[in-house]
């Protein structure tokens, strides 16, 4: 109010100095810089925002091509899944004898992007078992599979279950997997047919990818690697950047270790194809017996820096929540955080029973894995578990983004059926085969400039993503040098990018108080008939390793009101109590220790709302006041161990503080005559760097959508100079560097100054955009990405 009005005057002055705010940043052209490489041919998107939009999508859904979907009489194909994602109505199991679906569903809010990710281990086998005349069609295995489906259609799920256990599970659960008998030597016959299915998956993705300027929907080619040795879930989904993909997916059967998967994908994709790129997203570490995030190689040897770098590059994200419960954390497993009870399962392995007395290995949970990552970084300088956070559904009905609690249609075809109750009635029996612990799952949200494959993939790579438990709050999270009153500044977002890093980023020492964090969240805007639930509060979760080498964590309420008394009536699902439309706050860590690496992620909580089971039980008219009258297969409705209400939430990717990282950066690129551009930069980093220069190479890389500068100064080149170390070379022999100075400071930091000779730096685009500076000394790699500002003469930070 008063503050704002007086700033109008200030703004007028600033305008005169050419330092006007956000409004001049936006006219970046749609075909302008990313700052990511454009790896495909397409019309530029009409809608492009330098400050990025949130795009809502699904990274994990199964169709008829997954044998653990088709066995439950799921018939939706990848095309059906994309139709659903884009807002068309599709059919669901069960089907009548004429093939009409008895249920249908439509997404009222279509998704912005989706990847169909079927289990790659069964592609060829699916094709063969369902194509009469194929070698193997008449085999025992295929006959049993088809028969199981028929039995399941008729209501006999015992045969389905037995077939699943006896026939399908061994494919992914044997440590030394092998294919079915008819697959031939090396599985060649099945792999041959697998390419037919894979080609169809690729074709479906292409058909639904909107390459026009409308950019209404982006599909991704993908699949699931389904390694489950001895029942421990090690599954991860592989997402390809564009349509340049290997001829076949790499499945658990060919590569039974994640390390093998990454290596072979690297060869088959980046090294063999001109535009190919991929990343993998693990999920359900909660059912991995702690094996998903073991800090070791396949042969159990400890990780080297190189191993850790491969892991971090291959798997920049984790699916922290989906139908098979949350993997964020669990009460009493390394944490006192009661909010970890959200959608928590007691299944320790993928096929195990949910028993309350089961004990969990700490590394089954992502928060603990993030701490382990810090521990590894402390030891080997590279963090293997630098994980951005998203959520997904893992839906086996072919309905990506089907996350509404009030109309959940179930997880996998006839698995959710019940003779007595409509879907998902089969889940309301606490003793049932289909688990009441499961839930609809969540969504992946990426902050990207436009809705295209390159833009969204790049956002995933840099981890500027968050996951939700199914609703659509909008969440911003930054760390950097910010004024405490930034929440009253309308240019908050632009300042966020210019003076710090967004979610998923890393930051070094800014000052001894640590970085200032900004959290800004808006509630789900809702739909016409279904308003979004107000927000309750925002928390920041900090993790660090203490002086004894033990992992520690702290959860802090940063803004909002945990005691706002908001609640929901579980018989009508009507919400009561106040909440917030938007929340904004800054926060600094009162226990910040410059020497202690840490991660910080934001968790946004809505006011309570009904869980899917409550909606389902209410619509069945279950009355728990008279438990004896409640049928056995609806006992879950009245069980004290099943929560009636939940708080939907969002998890924003962490920002990592690294003592050795780049805390401050000042850089100026001057455009002179062609070939005579210069770059000067000053970076503040952590201690102990100068000592390495004798034995380790020093490299500085500056990049946006292409590489602007890449200079390496070999070990031993730096010479002592004035209390620091320097290289002076008027010829610019080392990648254009004219002068490089590395100065240890008395307070512990290191200041690095680089200036170049006149050289060609024209690859640096002359508009406002994000630029990354990366400094490598030996295995230590620190990077710093911010929004740089451009004029006709200069491109600079701040």
């Amino acid at each position: 109010m008063r503050v704002v009005l007086s700033r109008v005057g200030t703004a007028a002055v600033l305008l005169g100095l050419g330092l006007a705010g956000v409004f001049t940043a936006s006219p970046a052209r749609a075909d302008g810089p990313g700052p990511w490489a454009r790896t495909e041919t397409r019309t530029p998107c009409a809608s492009f925002n330098l400050l990025r939009h949130p795009y809502f999508g699904e990274t994990h859904v199964h169709t008829v091509y997954s044998v653990d979907a088709s066995i439950f009489d799921v018939r939706n194909t990848p095309r059906d899944a994309y139709r659903f994602a884009t807002g068309e109505e599709i059919g669901l199991t069960p089907y009548d004898a004429e093939g009409h679906p008895r249920r249908t569903l439509r997404l009222r809010r279509p998704l912005d992007f989706a990847a169909v990710t079927d289990h790659s281990e069964g592609f060829g086998e699916s094709y063969i078992c369902f194509t009469p005349g194929e070698d193997g069609y008449d085999s025992d295995e295929c006959t049993k599979l088809r028969n199981a489906i028929v039995q399941g259609e008729a209501g006999d799920l015992t045969t389905v279950g037995n077939t699943l256990t006896g026939l399908l599970i061994p494919i992914v659960a044997l440590p030394a997997p092998h294919r079915w008998s008819f697959c031939g030597d090396g599985g060649s016959h099945c792999l041959d047919k697998a390419s037919i299915v894979w080609d169809d998956i690729r074709a479906a993705a292409e058909e639904f990818y909107d390459r026009s300027a409308a950019c209404t929907f982006t599909s991704f080619v993908g699949y699931e690697w389904s390694g489950t040795p001895l029942g421990n879930n090690l599954h991860r989904n592989v997402i390809f950047r564009n349509d340049d993909v290997p001829a076949l997916p790499v499945s658990y059967i060919e590569q039974p270790t994640p390390q093998g998967l990454w290596a072979v994908l690297g060869t088959a994709c980046q090294q063999s194809l001109s535009r190919c790129d991929w990343l993998a997203i693990p999920h359900n570490s909660n059912m991995s017996s702690g094996r998903m995030f073991l800090p070791e190689n396949a042969d159990h040897s400890p990780l080297t820096a190189a191993d850790a770098a491969v892991r971090a590059a291959s798997e920049p994200l984790v699916e922290i929540y989906q139908a098979k419960s949350s993997s964020e954390c669990k009460p009493a497993v390394g944490t006192p955080d009661e909010l970890c009870a959200f959608e928590s399962t007691n299944r320790v392995t993928l096929f195990g029973n949910s028993t309350p007395t089961n004990t969990f290995a700490p590394l089954s949970f992502v928060r603990n894995a993030l701490k382990e990552g810090l521990k590894q970084e402390q030891a080997i300088e590279v963090n293997p578990f630098r994980l951005g956070l998203i959520a997904a559904t893992d839906n086996h009905n072919g309905i990506p983004g089907g996350v509404r609690e009030d109309e959940w249609t179930g997880h996998a075809g006839v698995l959710d059926a019940d003779a007595a109750a409509p879907y998902p009635g089969g889940r309301l029996d606490t003793q049932g085969r289909a688990n009441i612990e499961d839930s609809p799952g969540g969504l992946a949200v990426v902050w990207a400039e436009e809705n295209s494959r390159d833009a969204i993939f790049a956002a995933m790579r840099r981890r500027e993503v968050y996951g939700t438990s199914g609703t659509r709050p909008i969440v911003r999270f930054f760390a950097g040098r910010y004024p405490k009153a930034i929440c009253s500044r309308p240019d908050l977002v632009e300042m966020g990018y210019r003076q710090g890093v967004p979610m998923g980023g890393e930051i070094g020492t800014v000052d001894r108080h640590g970085p200032t964090f900004i959290v800004l969240a808006s509630k789900d805007p809702g739909e016409e008939a279904l308003p979004g639930t107000p927000l309750q509060r925002i928390q920041i979760v900090k993790g660090w390793i203490d002086a004894n080498g033990d992992p520690q964590e702290k959860v802090v309420d940063v803004v909002g009101d945990p005691n706002n008394g908001a609640s929901v009536d579980s018989t009508t699902c009507t919400p009561t109590g106040a909440g917030f439309d938007t929340l904004c706050a800054t926060w600094t860590d009162p226990e910040f220790d410059v020497r202690q690496r840490a991660f910080y992620y934001a968790r946004v909580l809505e006011n309570p709302s009904c869980r899917w089971s409550t909606y389902a039980c209410n619509s069945l008219g279950v009355d728990c006041t008279n438990p004896d009258m409640v049928p056995a297969d609806l006992q879950g409705c009245c069980s004290a161990s099943v929560p009636k209400t939940i708080q939907e939430r969002a998890w924003a990717s962490p920002i990592w503080y690294r003592p050795e990282g780049i805390g401050r950066l000042k850089a100026t690129l001057h455009y002179h005559a062609p070939g005579a551009d210069t770059l000067r930069l000053v970076a503040h980093m952590g201690p102990g760097l100068a000592a390495r220069l004798a034995t380790q190479d020093f490299q500085v890389v500056v990049r946006d959508d292409d590489v602007i500068l890449d200079a390496t100064i070999p070990a031993g080149t730096f010479a002592p100079s004035d209390g620091g170390f320097a290289v002076n070379d008027p010829t610019g022999h080392f990648g254009g560097v004219q002068q490089a100075i590395v100065e240890p400071q008395r307070a512990g930091q290191t200041i690095i100054r680089i200036s170049t000779i006149g050289m060609d730096l024209s690859r640096a685009d002359r508009t406002d955009h994000a630029v990354e500076v990366e400094i490598r000394i030996g295995t230590l790699v620190a990077s710093h990405t911010r929004l740089w500002r451009a004029t006709s003469a200069v491109l600079r930070t701040r």
Partner: protein
């Protein structure tokens, strides 16, 4: 709403699409004897069953038109099924064999013994158990339909054909209207002052000479400039009421306040571009897929017409749409 067969049928569709007629297991042997000529294509019992099924599904009995459609569908299925038998599509199908053998085994009070599968199967055939099995009938009818609509070695449609299709169905490929706007956000967190502050800011914005470059209002998650957003995108980010409100605003002046779930917004629409039809290059894959689907439907319709003639089916009214 399209029907789906069991997974078998989808893969079958892919298989037949990719392989020529010969490579799919259509046996190279002379067709079997023609079906008994007197057997009606649609029995009263079957029609009654269809009526019952419909009523159970829809909650009300079928109208006369609906019943005619059901009957026509059932007759088509029967024709395809019989034609499948003529082509002996049932003879090499292991799962049909397995299913019939199990049925016979059950009827024989579960007598054990492998190798008896052939005997059980033959007995089942002798008893015509396959005739009443809905799955088998559906499977065979679908196999026959897929063979009937199979792709000939016709050339892929060229660019001229794609352009022509695009022109004909331009509405389907029209991009939405796009609006670019500045907005100043006044958060509901201001409480009772929200509306007052919004109006004051609006007055200020209208009065100032260079309003669009002055930072005013509260922070919004994606900044103050919205570029080329479709109505759907506006609704997605600002709510439907906002999108509807903005659609009514004039271009080039500050107006409002327009409400969103988060508070009030002062809006200056910079540009509003009507949607144009996507160029072919951008939607080529979709157009190609739709043309192929259209051709498949035409081939199937022709094949069904021929089969109906062969089996002496008379239709009252227009030609029946074949199933998708």
């Amino acid at each position: 709403m399209r029907r789906s067969g069991p997974p078998a049928l989808h893969f079958l569709a892919m298989g037949v699409a990719l392989f020529t007629l010969e490579r799919v297991a259509v046996p190279r042997r002379p067709p079997g004897p023609p079906p008994p000529p007197a057997a009606p294509l649609l029995t009263p019992d079957r029609l009654a069953q269809l009526r019952t099924d419909f009523t159970r599904q829809a909650g009300v009995p079928p109208t006369a038109d609906e019943e005619q459609a059901l009957a026509a569908q059932a007759i088509d299925d029967e024709i395809l099924y019989r034609e499948a038998l003529v082509h002996r599509l049932d003879r090499d199908d292991r799962s049909i064999r397995y299913r019939l053998a199990e049925k016979m085994r059950f009827l024989s009070d579960g007598q054990e013994g492998d190798g008896d599968e052939e005997r059980f199967y033959q007995d089942a055939l002798a008893l015509h158990l396959d005739r009443e099995d809905l799955f088998i009938r559906r499977m065979l009818a679908t196999k026959m339909r897929l063979l009937a609509e199979r792709r000939e070695a016709d050339p892929a449609p060229d660019d001229a054909a794609l352009e022509a299709y695009l022109d004909l169905h331009a509405d389907r490929y029209r991009e939405p209207e796009r609006t670019s706007l500045w907005h100043v956000f006044v958060s509901s967190a201001r409480g009772t002052a929200c509306e007052r502050d919004a109006r004051a800011l609006l007055a200020r914005l209208r009065a100032d000479a260079m309003p669009t470059t002055a930072p005013l209002g509260d922070p919004f998650p994606f900044g103050a400039y919205v570029r080329a957003a479709s109505p759907r995108e506006l609704a997605q980010h600002f709510g439907e009421a906002f999108a509807a409100g903005v659609a009514r605003l004039p271009v080039g002046e500050w107006a409002g306040p327009v409400a969103s779930p988060y508070g009030l917004h002062l809006v200056r629409v910079e540009a509003r571009e009507p949607g144009r039809v996507s160029p072919l290059a951008a939607v080529r894959a979709r157009v190609l897929a739709e043309i192929r689907e259209e051709r498949r439907r035409e081939r199937l319709a022709a094949a069904m017409a021929a089969l109906r003639a062969k089996y002496g089916v008379q239709r009252a009214g227009a030609a029946q749409e074949s199933r998708g």
